[in-house]
Symmetry: C2
Subunit: 368 residues, 2 copies
């Protein structure tokens, strides 16, 4: 961890991000456009960009000022959306994804960004970055538009693993709270455990056990445990962090996305119905854009892999330049606050419960 010490201190930029140029549905031109947007807005970002060198050099040269802040690493192979994780783990050494993770592994960057195949990215991240001490299952955390003042809730796991026992759910609570504290600037995040009812006697046995473990850890790890929450609370204001297993979380995420998309299309249909409704939609355009901006998935583009020696931001495969830029913004923020080290300290402090959890916060004057 010492190799990233210099980058760790808040505000002591520039900060280096490792970017996978390949594997997204729209190809490397879109990724380069996205990082160019980010570079133009933020002088403290540096990139290591991974992919076929000749093609990337050409794309980067076209963007004014980008070549000065962007180093290119040649990687000939690409992980496709159809590649099985096991294949990539065996034969993926020359892929841009592998190379991207290795820049984090060797300490050149603390955060990686990829639009590629989620399963392969998680499998490679596990073997190249390895799990943090004390973490059994890493998790993917996402931001979900919500009624809370911060505008978003954290939910995890949304699909790193389909299983989670009580101890895993406790770790998700710790990691999710740390992410909310650092990513959403919430001093004392409220954590809820997803269930089919809020009564303590309800649900599967591992949930009852997790309820108890998380209850006990809450004070030491500086979060508030609000107990069981239901699906309706994911976009609600009862909790800031929603903890669940990767199967349930993945279904909930995709159900929410599908529902939002259906409503959006029905809204368009409703406004296209008659000449009067089309006129109304013109007048309502600003209002509708305001709504769209609020729930636009591109604005919060990026699942974050938690529980590894290094942080990986998974951008949507279909992300456009705006989406890539949003993922880069999130990655930069996490690099700037030294999130990887803070998360590691938080998990370690709870794994060894004799340690006073507050001690870590005191050591560098911040909280994890």
């Amino acid at each position: 961890m010492t190799s990233s010490q210099d980058q760790k201190k808040a505000g002591a930029g520039p900060f280096v991000l490792s970017i996978d140029a390949m594997g997204g549905d729209r190809g490397p031109a879109t990724v380069v456009a996205g990082i160019a947007d980010s570079a133009a807005l933020n002088p403290d970002i540096r990139f290591i960009l991974h992919g076929p060198a000749a093609e990337l050099e050409r794309l980067v040269a076209k963007r004014k000022g980008l070549s000065e802040v962007c180093e290119i690493r040649d990687a000939a192979d690409v992980v496709s959306m159809d590649d099985k994780p096991s294949q990539v783990m065996r034969n993926g050494k020359k892929t841009s994804m592998w190379s991207t993770l290795d820049s984090v592994r060797n300490g050149e960057a603390t955060v990686a960004v990829s639009c590629g195949n989620t399963g392969a990215l998680m499998a490679l991240s596990m073997i190249r970055l390895r799990k943090l001490p004390g973490v059994n299952r890493p998790a993917i955390a996402i931001l979900w538009p919500s009624r809370n003042p911060q505008g978003f809730n954290v939910m995890l796991d949304v699909g790193a693993d389909i299983r989670a026992d009580a101890r895993d759910l406790l770790q998700f609570a710790l990691m999710g709270a740390s992410y909310a504290r650092n990513g959403l600037a919430l001093d004392r995040p409220r954590v809820g455990l997803l269930n089919v009812g809020t009564e303590e006697h309800k649900g599967r046995s591992e949930l009852k056990e997790a309820h108890e473990l998380i209850s006990q850890a809450a004070d030491g790890a500086q979060f508030e445990f609000v107990g069981f929450v239901e699906g309706g609370d994911i976009p609600g204001k009862k909790a800031d962090v929603i903890v669940t297993d990767g199967f349930t979380g993945n279904v909930a995420l995709k159900t929410g996305e599908g529902t939002a998309s259906l409503i959006g299309d029905l809204l368009k249909e409703a406004f296209a119905y008659s000449p009067l409704s089309r006129l109304a939609s013109l007048l309502a355009l600003t209002s509708l854009r305001r709504l769209q901006k609020r729930i636009d998935p591109r604005r919060v583009n990026g699942g974050v892999f938690l529980g590894l020696n290094g942080t990986v931001v998974k951008s949507h495969g279909s992300a456009d330049a705006t989406g890539v830029s949003a993922a880069v913004k999130l990655a930069f923020k996490l690099a700037q606050i030294g999130f990887t080290d803070k998360l590691a300290a938080r998990v370690a402090s709870t794994a060894a419960l004799d340690h006073d959890a507050d001690g870590f916060g005191a050591k560098d004057g911040t909280t994890q």
Copy 2:
């Protein structure tokens, strides 16, 4: 089953519904208003209404023509939203819910409607109506607004039980297909099994086993099996019936409802933002109402309990008169087509796989 034979033939009304007047958030006046609306629209409906007789007589007398089609059964006690299912099973004999189910049990009605406590209603239904032969776990099925031509997809189980093994999931597929065939008039419903990916190697082991069982049963039970589907397909057009366990289904349902409600509120906010946007909203009112009508949960109010000797429609606890009337409309439709017997035949035909499934359809000239 012989006692309901006379009611079974399609079109041979009137049809008697057993209605629980109590247990909803808005009290019996709302239920009576709802059934009065239904009675005014449909001369073939008859009601047995359960609750405190004096109060119900007063409420029914106020609605013109209702007393002629509505018989009142006195039941002094009410199941509240906080009552535990186990308490109601032990001490609930005098409740309106118990009395409502007993009218189905003794063959006076084939379908029951209640706005009461879901857990208690399912528990009482299990002991009073008993499970259909061949059914291990009954399920709650709901209609979900979708991109399909019929406007809705069926999803089950949304919370009858938090567990489901492969054999239960097969039964959900059979029952869901039968419900879609009869309730949504789809000759050959497409059934999907909810998972975190569409590849056959993905997911929990019981899902892989269920995949195989449902595959094998599809032809005989006259549905098409589209394999694994994801959360985004619940409101999608890939399948008409989505099969899952009650834990996942309940989380998905509440996540979808919560997301739709958040978007609705944000839409209102967006239109209330400025004088111009308020003007736009006036012009857009018709379009917005059209959208609201399309996704209004009151229009498809009613989870249906499947797998019992009798059909139970569970209306939302917070249903207003429009919602109650929608639940009654659904109950009437199911009574009219003799759904309970069709479902029983379908489950039995697959439980005894030697029987030719088509035989049942041929017997009364319809399909199950």
